[in-house]
């Protein structure tokens, strides 16, 4: 009773649904990362997976403030000389809208095997429909 409480491994999964339309990118991503890690549970343990799955819909309509829509750059390098590819927020949103939220949340999750596993529990969809109706996700938008 004197020792700090360490829970048993959790085997039940919890699914959450978040609508990303007209949400600010960074502010939404911190909340997502927090839920994925399980920091809203009282038996949070840093090395255990709380099995929280998050579905994001309407990822295309995510917003950023100021001039970032035209000036925020996403860079990647192919490894070959001269292979630096640069895109603006707007261009990436048109090409692969899921990448924007995924990149933001990935940078906020812990780096390591557990962090990578948590990242797979985030499902991002550009439009309004998702194939996870059978999991009966709980809607927690306005976050």
């Amino acid at each position: 009773m004197n020792d700090t409480y360490i829970p048993n491994k959790n085997t039940s999964k919890k699914w959450y649904l978040i609508d990303a339309s007209d949400q600010t990118l960074g502010r939404l991503s911190t909340k997502i990362a927090s839920i994925l890690q399980g920091k809203n549970n009282i038996d949070y343990t840093p090395f255990l997976n709380t099995q929280s799955y998050i579905i994001i819909i309407n990822a295309q309509s995510i917003t950023v403030t100021g001039q970032k829509k035209y000036k925020k750059l996403y860079k990647r390098h192919s490894g070959q000389p001269g292979g630096l590819k640069i895109e603006t927020f707007e261009q990436l949103n048109q090409r692969m809208p899921n990448k924007i939220i995924e990149k933001a949340v990935k940078g906020m999750l812990p780096k390591g095997p557990l962090g990578r596993k948590l990242f797979t529990q985030l499902k991002v969809y550009a439009n309004n429909n998702h194939p996870h109706e059978a999991q009966q996700p709980e809607d927690i938008t306005l976050k």
Binding site: M1, T4, Y5, K39, N40, N41, I42, D43, Y44, T45, P46
Partner: protein
């Protein structure tokens, strides 16, 4: 000079080190000279670890208290301020435990601090 045998002095010294090296991988648990290096390293790590352990657990308790306060609309900083003002001296370990194990008591704590 008188003939002096070294006897088992060296063996006893090395046996102590090898005892500390139990469970190490490969020759680090069986050969003395490699084992000694790893044992020294392990002792250094355990010294640092004992100091880190105190920090790590306090971090864990604080995250858990924050999580337990969400349904009451409080934040950790407001809660601690309320506790200090009401002269409750419970430390974070106990607060964290109470939050997990005994929900009722935690709620009463919050009502006192409000």
């Amino acid at each position: 000079m008188i003939r002096v045998k070294r006897g088992n002095v060296a063996r006893k010294r090395r046996k102590n080190i090898l005892k500390l090296a139990k469970g190490f991988r490969g020759s680090h648990s069986s050969l003395f000279r490699t084992a000694k290096q790893q044992v020294l390293k392990s002792l250094r790590y355990s010294y640092v670890g004992r100091k880190n352990k105190k920090r790590d657990y306090r971090r864990l308790w604080i995250v858990r208290i924050n999580a337990a306060l969400i349904p009451f609309g409080l934040t950790y900083s407001q809660f601690i301020c309320g506790l200090k003002k009401s002269h409750i001296g419970l430390n974070r370990k106990m607060l964290g435990q109470i939050a997990v194990v005994d929900n009722n008591a935690f709620e009463q704590l919050i009502n006192i601090t409000k």
